[in-house]
Amino acid sequence: MRLSFAASIAKYKQDSRLNEDAMGDRASLGVYAVSDGASESFDSRRWSKLLVRLFLANAHVDERWLHRAVSLYVRQFDREAMTWSAQAAFDRGSFATLTGIVISPGRSQVQVLGVGDSLAVLVDGTHLVSSYPYQRPEQFALRPLLLSTVWEQNRALLGNALAGLGARWSLRHLRDASVLLMTDALGAWLLRDPRSRVPKLLNLNTSLQFEALVGHERMNGQMRRDDTTLAVIR
């Protein structure tokens, strides 16, 4: 399995540099990840990129991993040199999801880690087999847990909680397995009609096609306008 398609579109095309989604792959180790930075954050773009980078380097996410991520983020800023508002916004924090997968060397299973509402989807042919963390589109209305750059705000994720946030999918007995990773606007759209929408995503070949699909679905009210990212591993 390898990354066969990857694309990301900003919420507003003219603001593409403000896209707060991040994604990455380390195909040689079967590791892939997406992260969706929350808008009301000091620098969620930097935070989401850092989370993906660290996951690709070490997919064993635990309290120590998260502590290191927070330290590396904080080290990039000089709080004392900031304006009063930048200090307050920095103290308030940055927030992001992280959904990553590790495909076992024998291609027999996929380990999924998911914090927040970025979606991982297992597909066989064009049939949706499983999804994590959500299975129904209305679940995207829930307020998701996010990884925070303020250590105290990660309390719910400490101890063994992080280890419990994920799934394990067997690929045995699947004839034509693919895994899709995507951020929430696309995830909610997909789960509303997976039968017709999984093939649309699997048939994408270029980022222009992705842009056209997302643009069309946003315009007809089927997809919420937000930074939108997709990775297809097959």
Binding site: E40, F77, S85, A88, A89, R92
Partner: protein, 277 residues
């Protein structure tokens, strides 16, 4: 569907605070602060929250424009001072850059290793309490309507402005109800202006927050303020419920004889914009 426009720098929304600064605002609340001092505190904290919610590492994003109107013995005037006094409504970045002063205070924060450490934090002040004279509420609401017509004309596709009016008494320059009704009809393509009325009181009497009907309101004045207030827009219903208020789509964004907690919640819920992504 109204009240669904995305809020962006190219499509900002506006908050306008209309604050009674008449002599009676000098009366003390249970906390020992006067009504004027407490409202000034809450307003400064609200402005602070609006700024930091829109501050990113590269600077302040102008998702909001914010205005303050004060009214009292000196008539109707911009509630901002200093560099902001020349106009009523300003983009958020201008507000961030021009507080009257920034007070430095020590705050105990976790040090990440289980202990606490002192950290210097800054508290900007834009609005000082003042109390003087009568209550020209009608003149203030006329000015409000004038500002909203200009703003909506300049921002036709924006989420409509939210007006938060704070008073402790009755107008002494006429009947404000028709003027309020006119203000509520001013609109952008995304809907009509929202007028939220907050009446504050030191009597300790039972407060009424977000009622769904006039029935149960104690007097003609409270019923008038109720009628002057907009219905809850849908996304704020959920936020009010989160804070424990049984709000519905029929509820009016109105508080009567509100005390400490009611005032804080009113400002907090009233300035939430869920379409800010």
């Amino acid at each position: 569907m109204p009240y669904t426009a995305d809020i962006a720098r190219t499509n900002p929304t506006a908050f306008l605070f209309v604050v009674d600064q008449s002599a009676s605002m000098d009366e003390k609340l249970e906390s020992g602060q006067s009504k004027a001092e407490f409202v000034a505190d809450v307003l400064n904290k609200t402005l602070y929250q609006l700024v930091i919610r829109c501050t990113r590492s590269e600077g302040v994003r102008n998702y909001f424009e914010v205005g303050v109107i004060g009214y009292g013995g000196k008539g109707v005037y911009s509630g901002f001072g200093g560099a902001l006094a020349s106009d009523y409504i300003h983009p958020l970045a201008a507000i961030e850059q021009n507080p009257l002063r920034v007070e430095s205070r020590a705050k105990r924060v976790p040090d990440g290793a289980g202990g606490l450490v002192d950290q210097s934090v800054n508290f900007p002040v834009w609005f000082d309490p003042a109390t003087n004279g009568g209550t020209p509420m009608c003149e203030a609401l006329r000015k409000t309507a004038e500002l909203m017509v200009h703003w909506c004309d300049a921002h036709p596709t924006s989420y409509p402005p939210t007006i938060i009016h704070v008073t402790d008494g009755q107008a002494n320059d006429g009947d404000p109800e028709q003027i309020a009704d006119s203000a509520k009809l001013i609109s952008t393509n995304d809907g009509e202006c929202l007028l939220f009325n907050l009446h504050i009181d030191t009597s300790g009497a039972q407060s009424i927050i977000f009622p769904a009907s006039e029935a149960g309101l104690p007097d003609a004045y409270s019923r008038m303020l109720f009628r002057m207030s907009s219905n809850f827009p849908p996304h704020l219903v959920a936020m009010a419920k989160e804070k424990g208020y049984p709000a519905t789509g029929e509820s009016r964004f109105f508080g009567y004889k509100a005390g400490y907690e009611g005032i804080v919640d009113f400002f907090d819920i009233g300035t939430r914009a869920s379409n800010l992504r």
